[in-house]
Each structure stands twice: as C-alpha cells, then as structure tokens.
Symmetry: C2
Subunit: 566 residues, 2 copies
C-alpha cells in the first residue's frame, strides 16, 4: 500500500480529470521543460547508444534459445545491430501463469501503486532513452518521440489505471446477506474476488510502439493478468526497454518479473498467430494493420480481443471564415510524421462548386491547389520538413507512394509528387515529401482504403451533402478514427456531428491555430469508438478494462467464529 | 424525465444494493404476498387462457408473412395452439434501425425511466399471465414461475439498468479543454455522445425464458440499441407477452414500438444463425446450449456476443457437522425443477474413504445411498414432487434419462431409477423422478459433460484433494456456474475457495436450511463469471453493459456565440 499512498495525490487528480475531461498532465509537454533537461537528454542518448554498442539486449527471462533482431534505423537506414532474446513460447506462458498467482491475490490498489511506480521509473530514468529508440525504429521526430511516444503515452497509461480502478472498485469485496425463506432466516457472508482472466498478449506496432501498448499493458496488469509483449520486428527496442523497466520495478517490489516478458519474432518467421491461438492466451491487445486486426477479432476467441487498427480518416471542407488558416492546419496535420499516424487525414472531400468563404466561393481546383501549396510550403525547407515529416518508417511505404503516384497520374491529377528531402542531421534518412492526388468520386477504388503514409486525396463531390455522405461512408465501411470539418453553417455542423456519430469517428470542427488537428489529449479525447472497422477498443473507457477480470464469489452461513455481524 | 423521477427512489435503492450487495427487492417474494393476490392470480390465469382461446397472438410488427407456433405444454403434453407472427428478417432489422434514431438521442435517464415503467407494467399487469405461460412452455412449477421467471427476473432487469446507468454516467456529456501550444492558447469545447452499437438480437431459452432475457433486453435498450427477440420455439408465449408489453409502453411514451420485435422460427427451420450473421446485427445475447453458445462466441463477430450456456456443476463432500442436513439440501437442489437449471449440481465428488462427521467416517457407499434416499423422500409423494420437480420441459430429456440409465447400468451403479410420477393437478404432465448414478473417476466419459435434466453422479475419488481437483477440472474444461462444498476444515475451505476462483465457479459452502443451494439473489449474487466455458457474460456487472455503446466526441474552438465559459 506504501506505493499507492505515494502516488495517491497524482492518481486522484487523474481520476478527477477522467471525469471532467479537462486538460491536465503531470508531465512537461516539451523536452526542454523536463527537469534538468540538458543532462537528461544527454543521459538518454548515452543509454540508447550503449544498447547499440552492447549489441545484445539482456533480459533475464525464461526459455531463451536464441538472439535475434532486424531493426533498421529510418534515420540512417543502417541496422541497429541489437539482438534480443528469443524465448520458447510455452515457457513464457508457463512463467506468466506461475507469476500470476501472487500478483492476482495482491489488493488491486497495491498493484496500481506498483504500476504507478513503473510510470515514474520510465519517466525518470528511461524517457529520453525510449525517445531515441523510437526515433531510430519508428522514425519519429525528436519532439514527437518525446510527446506522443513518451509523456502522452504515460498519460494514457495512467488513464487506463484510473478506469481499471473504477471497474474493480465497483465490486464490493464482501457483503452480509439476510433473507427469510419460509419460516427460517438465512444469513450468508459473501466474498467477491476479482479473478484475472489470464495471460495477456500485447502486440505493439512499428510506427507508434508505446502509445497504445503502454495503456494496454497497464489495463491487463492492473486487473491482475500477466503479460507477454510481442513487438513489431521493425520496432523492438522501445518495447524491450519498456519490458525491462516493468520487470525491474516488479522484482524490486517483491513480485515475479515474469509478469512481463518479451516474445520476439522476425518478419520472415512471425509468431503472432501462434501467440493468439495459444491455449493459455486469455487477452489480446493488438495495434497494427487492418488486415491482421480483423483476423485477431475473428480468431482470438476464447481470448478477449482489443484492437486498434486504422482507417480512412476524412475531411469535409464546406465553408470557412478563414480558408487559408484552415488549409494551413490541414496541411500541417497531413504532413505530421509523414501521415504515419492512425489519426492522419487521407480523404479530403470538397464540393465541386468550391468552398464558400467571406471572399466568395473558392472553386474546387483552387482549393486543391492552395492546399497543395500549403503542404509544399511546409516541406520545401529541409529543416522544417525534418521537424514535421520526420522519416518514412518502412521501405514499403516508399514503394506504395510510387505505385499510387502512377495510379494517380492515370486516374486523376497529381497535385504534389513525392520526393526525398535531405534531412539536415541524418543525411542517410529515409524521407519523402507527400503525394497529393486530385480525383473525383469515380476514383473511389483509389482512395477507399487506408493508403498508409503521406498520401492524400482531394476529392470533388456533387455538393456538401454528397461530401458528408461519402466521407461518413468511408468511416463506416473502411474504418475511421478521426474526421475533420470546416463549415460556417451551424445546421450543416449539426448534421455532420450526427452523421459522424453514427459512423463512429471522432470529429474536430473548424480548428485553426497551433494545435495539430489530430492531437489526442489523454484524459480528455476518447481514441477509437469501437463503432467502425478501425478497431473495437477505446483508449480508454470502462469497456477497455471491465472484461479483463471476472468476479468469483463464495458464500457461506454467517457463523460466530467468522466474526461477521448481523 | 417524468418517468425517471417517478422511479428514482426505487432506482436509487437498487443502485445502493448493487454496491452493498445486501438483500433487497421491491417485489413480494411469494405469490400470496402479491397485492390482492386472489384477484391477480385469477386475472393472470384468465389472460393466459385467453391467449389459448384466441389462438393467434397479435403483434403489430412489420413484415409479417406467416403465423407459426409449435409449443406443447409439459403439463398437458398437448399443443398450446397459439401462433405468432413470423416477420421477414430484413424488415425487422430495417424497422429496428429506423426505431433506433430517436431512442438513441433520448437522454439515457429518460430511457431508463421508460424501461422502469416497462418493469412496472409487467409486474402490475402481466406477472401471473407470464407465470402461466412459463408453466405451460418451460414446465416450471407455479412458485418457481412466479419467483424465478417473474419477480427475480424483474430484479435482475433492474440490476442491469443500474449497471447501464453507471457505465453511461461515467462519461461526461461535455467539457471545456484549454491548453497552450507554443505561444498560443487553444480552447476547445468538447461534446461526448453515447452512441448505441446497433440492433441487438436476444435469444431466450426453453427452460428459463425470462431470467436471462429480460436483463439482456434492458442492457441493450438502456444503452440505446433496438432489439429483436428470438425465443426458443418451445417457449415463445412468455417472450411474446414480454415483447408486447415493451412495445405498448414504448409506444405510449412516444417511441417507435419497433425498438422491440419478435423473430419466430421452428425447430425444423431455425433462423438463429441467420440472425447472428445478419450484417446489421451489432449485439447478440444468447442463453441456451453449450454447443450453440460456443458457435455464437466464435461467429458473432463483428457483433458483440454475451453468452450464458451451462456446465458441469460440481459438489465436493469432504466433511460435515450435520451430514443429514447437508444431504437434504443437496437433494432438494438436485430435484428443483428436475435439475433443468443452469445452476443445478450434477457431479458429486466424495472421497472413497467417506465423509467425516461428528459420528465418525461415513463410508462412500453409505453417503451415496443416503443422498439417494433423501432424493427419493422428496419425490415419492406426488404432491411434494409436483412442487419441487415440476415437469420435464422436453421429450429429449426423457430420452437422455433412458440412455444414461442404460450406460449407468453398464459402467456404474444405479442409485435411483427415473420414473414418471403422477402430477396431482395435471394427469397428462411429462414428469420424471431423478436418475442417480454411482460411479468412479474411471467413468469420466459419462459425467464430464452437462447431462441436461435430473441426472446426477455420485463419484468416488481418491481423497478430498482428488475430489477438489476433479471438480474444479470439470468447471474449467466443461464450464461450471455453481459449486457446492461441505467441509468442516477451514484449511480445505480456503483451498477450495482459491481453486474454484481459478476455475471461475461461484461457490456455496456448508449451506443447510430452507434456501435452495443454487438460489441466485439479484443485486447480490453474480451469475456466471466469464472465466470458464459456461458463458462469457456476467449478470450483471460493468462488462455486461459497457461495450453496448460507443463514445463519439466532437470538439471545436470555444466561441462567444456558443456560450461556453472559459
């Protein structure tokens, strides 16, 4: 209980914020605001470089039979050269089950205290180490790796703990129950135990390893389950550092470190399906491709599956008080981390007559061109481009850009052709400016699925109604996490809110200014609705945690010895 | 809001009780305590008989293309002669989707008010009508049909509303969010909508139609979803009365009655899989056989599935202060409704050396014989038998009794042979006294699955440890809802509590007296843990409701016109 008491003030503030959904975080939002930032940054870089020098990432986990690793830095396009232990899968599950015993019997507030300590240790000792690991695997920029893969992921983790605590607290640990049956009184003392479902497998993805995985890990562990982490083979190091930190804190608090282990595989020899269909798997958390996500949802049974995949995120541009500002914001969001975010917009629907502004109707083609110009303005200066576009995580994305450009030339108009830009700090970086295509709704085949990477479509529609219809159809059929609307008409806004609510996409309206349109705030913005194919799990709500444990009761007559009072 | 205010006091008491899990119900627990019972009973019987006389159960729902019905009363073994409308499935889904619109937009407290009114209307106007309908389809006794299929089912329904309200209340409807990005302040107003998942299909079972179905219906409707009820073709009338009551209340409150419709099928031409795989199905609640329940869990995707099937419920008899009392209670529970309850015990494990009592060790064979004698004592008097055994719902159960008796003779010892008893009020009733077999653990094939009906096995084990191991293995591998233990050893009790907790079965310890061992109290006892194959859904907890809706937000800059304050 000591640790829970240590973190009680911050946990209670997190609880309040989850209820009010106002803005709050215990963490500084920019690297420079981190305490003693210069030293922390240097130490983090050193820790990262030490992993590269050592080459072998030591994890003292069971069943190790080999060492593998195939990561390539998007910033250097050279192998990281780090290998990780590959353990026998059955041994990992056996160890997980064994570790579960005492953890499951620990009061849940105590478990949450230990997990708050994990957050503190990651924040205090590993944040900048994780930052560099994320940069050189996922390819994010320095600032995004700090925020999106660092403090924001810590915030979402604490949020998961809040909901886990809420779900568990709603079950009283004991009751005395009295009722008359016929002529006699029956008095029972009842005990309600929270029983973890069993071993959880957490898949983390290549481009955003920690943001979904950390909260999932917290949700499973808080509710008493042990955990096997299966990182994408392209992005292992951030999760290996994570696993090691969890294990060290668990062990230091007297728990079995095998509550958290690492399951490694390679692109050529994947183990994902083996893990999901393992007879001991009780929970699966998956972040990754739509295709495998669907497979997980369909095949995880009897395990519970929580998925977040991706979708066709849409924009409807109907009218604007300040079209330049709107296009600037859109352009920024389309460029952010080269649109390798599950929240990046892809399909931009514009009425063919154009967009209404205080200066009159701006024709469709002009809107498309001005948006392309905005994107180009952001990406033509390599220094600016490096900050916003960062790198391309996978060579496959470069291949897709090429293929889509060819198709775009055949079926539409290429507004912007992708080309590498010279990263000022990493001359070997895998980079690309965005591909932007102008099409009509006849080219639906081109854009009606997620095209991962910096690929977007400006699509001419019949009118605003058609734009809204097409956009929400994308979300419903292909999945959609985010949606963006610019309109000065309150009636159209209300209509769009209702339509996107039915389509299950989180809508941002008329936002201009310094905040990226797709910024998702922990404790405030719900991520994924579960109402369309973009995933079935929300970060974070009660449904994200309430099924991870069962309630098992025992009841017996009240006796004097038991000390229960009538 | 008027209706919610009307029921607020009782709803708040239900909320408190779900938290404390003490004993409470707003309903009288016995038919004679019902207000103006004589009149209510007579009116209920009349209403039931009117259905038989009319022959045609009118429901004004869409797409009716035929009238079918094949119910046979277990009390008379004659057809009820009632036919129900059979609607085109697509029309039912279309109507459900259409009805959802305004219901989904109604504040959830208002929806809950309407559903509380439904409970009141069923209690006030239909309770004894449902009672006779349950008797003459499911075959329950008068008192069980009143309690288990009447007031207790109403209680469980109110409990479902409590959890639905708790899950929905945990989402604030709006927030104002302010954060600094760089040098500028961003201030957003956020709206969080609770969006129902979509059409729900609720399957009700033959032997206990209302107890699971009513709470499931409440859970789906409270969270905004429309509902199609698919009754077992043998037990339609109780659910048809239910559907009609829901429709009338919904309509009288200004809502589309097609929020609740009936989907009929026949044994020879079932539509269950069509309903589950219908592209518009978003939620499935299933109560019924293990086999189909497993199919539902595996195939419902992308719909959410909530199942309660059955299992091998177990007893461990280790030692007892009062063996006669223990055996009497066991015998009563084994006889109750001819063990056609998902909570009825089937496998009774006894150490081969016998059971320790204050009078010394009672040998295994004597324990088995005394238990058989207790069962016989309860069932040899037809009047008593009628009250406790009631009838056999399905002729298939009689066939199974016969087959199991033959197998028992070959592989074990028949402690009690089943035989019809003459029901004092219904001479044509389908009845049977229980089959009891004495076997050893070598006959595992005989008992290691649910044998539905009054079939039980007294199984000799190596010792108490072996008994507990075998029993909890049944629960883990075959599913188990309930479990019963008699032991005077606190260390063994603690061990059994831990073992059954891992196996996910609700344990009742050393209970003797007037309460049936498998009595499940609403607001207090959790029904099904979700931790073994007996089903994945608990009646009722947060997991039972939290996934039935999604949270969709919209956010936009705070403007002066919007009236939001900074």
């Amino acid at each position: 209980m000591k640790l829970f008491e240590k973190y009680r003030p911050v946990f209670e503030k997190a609880q309040q914020t989850c209820a009010t959904r106002e803005c709050w975080s215990p963490y500084p939002d920019m690297p420079d605001k981190y305490p003693d930032a210069a030293h922390a940054k240097a130490a983090g870089l050193l820790a990262f470089e030490k992993h590269l020098q050592q080459g072998r990432f030591d994890l003292d986990q069971p069943g190790i039979h080999g060492w593998i690793g195939e990561e390539i830095s998007p910033y250097t396009q050279a192998p990281l050269g780090v290998v990780y232990p590959q353990s026998d899968i059955d041994r990992l599950f056996d160890a997980a089950e064994h570790a579960m015993g005492s953890w499951a019997q620990t009061p849940f507030t105590e478990r949450i205290g230990v997990l708050m300590e994990v957050l503190e240790v990651i924040y205090r000792d590993h944040l900048f180490e994780v930052l560099h690991a994320v940069m050189h695997t996922a390819g994010q920029s320095y600032n995004m790796a700090y925020a999106g893969s660092g403090v924001n992921a810590l915030d979402r983790s604490m949020e998961a703990l809040v909901y886990a605590e809420q779900a568990m607290r709603s079950v009283t640990p004991r009751a005395v129950w009295k009722r008359r049956f016929g002529s006699s009184d029956i008095q029972l003392q009842k005990t309600y135990r929270l029983v973890p479902r069993g071993p959880a497998v957490c898949f983390s993805c290549a481009s955003f390893p920690t943001w979904n995985a950390w909260p999932s890990m917290m949700a499973s562990l808080a509710t008493g389950n042990p955990l096997i982490v299966k990182p994408h083979p392209a992005t292992v190091l951030p999760m290996a550092i994570t696993v090691k930190a969890f294990r060290q804190v668990l062990q230091s608090q007297g728990f079995d470190p095998n509550l958290v282990t690492l399951a490694m595989d390679t692109t050529s020899d994947p183990i994902g399906k083996l893990l999901i269909k393992h007879p001991k798997t009780a929970i699966v958390d998956f972040t990754g491709s739509v295709r495998f996500g669907q497979w997980v949802e369909q095949n995880a049974h009897p395990a519970l599956a929580f998925t977040e995949t991706a979708g066709c995120n849409t924009v409807v541009l109907e009218s604007s008080d300040d079209l330049d500002a709107a296009l600037r914001n859109l352009a920024t969001t389309m460029c952010l981390f080269s649109a390798q975010m599950c929240t990046s917009p892809q399909n931009i629907y514009v009425p063919k007559a154009g967009v209404q502004t205080p200066q009159g109707l701006v024709p469709f083609a002009e809107v498309a061109q001005r948006l392309a110009n905005s994107v180009q303005a952001l990406t033509s200066d390599p220094k600016k481009a490096a900050m916003i576009l960062a790198t391309i995580q996978s060579p496959q994305t470069l291949a897709l850009l090429k293929a889509m450009q060819t198709q775009g030339q055949q079926h539409g108009k290429v507004l912007l052709s992708p080309q590498p830009y010279a990263h000022p700090e990493f001359p070997g970086a895998r980079t690309s400016t965005p591909l932007m295509l102008q099409v009509s709704t006849r080219e639906r085949d081109l854009y009606a699925e997620e095209r991962f990477g910096p690929i977007s479509f400006v699509i001419s529609c019949e009118d605003a109604q058609d734009a809204l219809k097409q956009a929400t159809q994308d979300a419903r059929s292909q999945g959609g996490l985010t949606a963006f609307l610019y309109s000065t008409r309150e009636d159209f806004i209300a209509q769009a809110e209702a339509a996107y609510a039915r389509a299950g996409a989180q809508l941002t309206i008329n936002l201009v200014g310094a905040m990226p349109l797709n910024f998702a705030a922990a404790y405030s913005d719900y991520h994924v609705t579960g109402l369309n194919p973009a995933g079935n799990a929300t970060l974070t709500n009660l449904a994200f945690v309430a099924g991870r444990f069962g309630i098992v009761q025992s009841r017996r007559p009240v006796t004097l010895e038991s000390g229960a009072t009538a």
